[in-house]
């Protein structure tokens, strides 16, 4: 059962603000998702090995070859907040 506190906690972890109205709404929606997983518990899975990935593929690799990187101007093109070739953000904590 997902409580209002759980919704607030999830919101804090994702750094999003949630209004009181949204909290009630999300609580209901998340609980219905949880109920759906409850149905899965009813399926007998003793002899089924776990699925690691929905696509039945493994060992996808690239060779260790260096390629061109982006030029610095392009990297910083989408921000106003830059200094000496670096991204600039407010101090932390």
């Amino acid at each position: 059962m997902i409580t209002k506190e759980d919704v607030e906690h999830i919101g804090w972890l994702a750094r999003i603000e949630i209004s009181e109205q949204e909290k009630a709404e999300y609580m209901e929606k998340l609980n219905s998702v949880l109920d759906y997983f409850g149905q899965l518990d009813e399926v007998a899975t003793e002899d089924v090995s776990p699925t690691y990935h929905v696509i039945d593929l493994h060992n996808v690799f690239r060779e260790d070859v260096a390629a061109e990187s982006l030029p610095q101007e392009k990297v910083l093109a989408n921000t106003e907040n830059k200094q000496e070739g670096a991204f600039k953000v407010p101090r932390i904590g």
Partner: protein, 495 residues
Amino acid sequence: MVYENPDGVMIGLEIHVQLNKLKSKMFCGCSTDYHDAEPNTHTCPVCLGLPGALPVLNREVVKAAIKVGLALEGEIAEETQFHRKNYFYPDLPRGFQTTQYDYPIVSKGKVVIEGEDGEHEVGIWRAHMEDDPGKLVHIGSIEKSKGVLIDYNRSGMPLIETVTAPDMRSPKEARRFLDKFRNILEYLDVFDGNLEGAMRMDANVSVYGGTRVEVKNISSHKGVEKALLYEIMRQKNVIRRGGEITQETRHFDEARGVTIGMRTKEEAEDYRYFREPDLMPMKVSDWTPKIKETLPELPDAKRARFIEQYGIADMHAKALTSKIMLADFYEGVCKKGTDPKQAATWIADVLLGELNYRDLVISSYDGSTIGCINDKDHSIANSTRVADMVDLVALFTDGKISDRAAVEVIRTILDGEEEKTPLQVIEEKGLFKAEDDLVTKAVAEAITENEAAVQDYLGGAEKSLNFLVGQVMKKTKGTADAKTAREMLVKELKG
């Protein structure tokens, strides 16, 4: 003797090693050669975490992880996969780190170290692959910082994180473990430990079986030892005053040599690990036999072989194999026909001692020369050539120079402004051993010119003999062998 561990100290380590010898990053083609580059010049949509960019794993990262796992005598997982570790910090552009959670590639290994009471086994719980965050640079001091600059050149660098069991019982054992561990990695040729940020460590420590405290982000082996010494003392003091150790993460202030409690978060850490859907699971345990064949001779095996093959003392074999480049240098000298025992003494005792004295660490060996850098400021120091060591040992064993002169040659080569061969140094400084008749002459002169000292000595003042020996050395400009000079004086005076 059994080490009692009176304070019940238990230390465990987590070590992050950057696979900086690979050509490209972990999930993208950006070059790993960024250490002297401008900020944000080695980045792309993948390592900048731009929307829609997809990671593809570098095969060599997996191979390196298996290599490390085998060298640590660990088990390689049948199935292994990546997880996302979710948290917000500006150095992490995607809001998660790609790491391994419940299916690490390596588990259950061990490393044998020289412990407080002889050989001591440290268990390895796991080793896994993960990517490095970017680098933050604070504008001004951390306390008064006006802002933070982010350079993502490091973002996406491949790391191997190794987690040990809390099997170390003193800061010294932790230091020994790190030295050995780094040595093994250098033998495997998977990383260059001299590059900035190549190895970062977290240490956890408890006393009397109590609560453990974690000290985060220490950048040197000496730093780990110092941080642990301080932290053990702090915990013992808290307990002595009747306090309680609380579970916390502390930060090590290297300049002040103290650990400082970090502000505890109101909410417990909640990383919401889940399987990384953009990366496919791996079944790579069948690569193991082939990789095993490519493993080099590791430190312990090399040490045993040196004793067997060259007939040298274990103490010398241990010192010579403590660094792959030094071991190769030693064998290079032996191959030129130098007596292995003499070579071991001159390299392990003298050369290594002189390097340590100058805070120099060996950083390269190209088959003919070892290069050194200063451990403190990373400046490049004078190198030492195999050919020079061969010549020097030959000059000494042929009786052309005294041992004191040979040491002086090594010092001059290490400290000199220009590159010189031992022969050049010996000629310039006149270090050739004096001919016997020259010493005989000096002895005779010393006796006739210093009658008072001679009488004192004959009257029982042993100290006066030292004075006379000094006179002989002065007359021969230090080229006489002091022991021979003393013997000749005694013979001359007392018959």
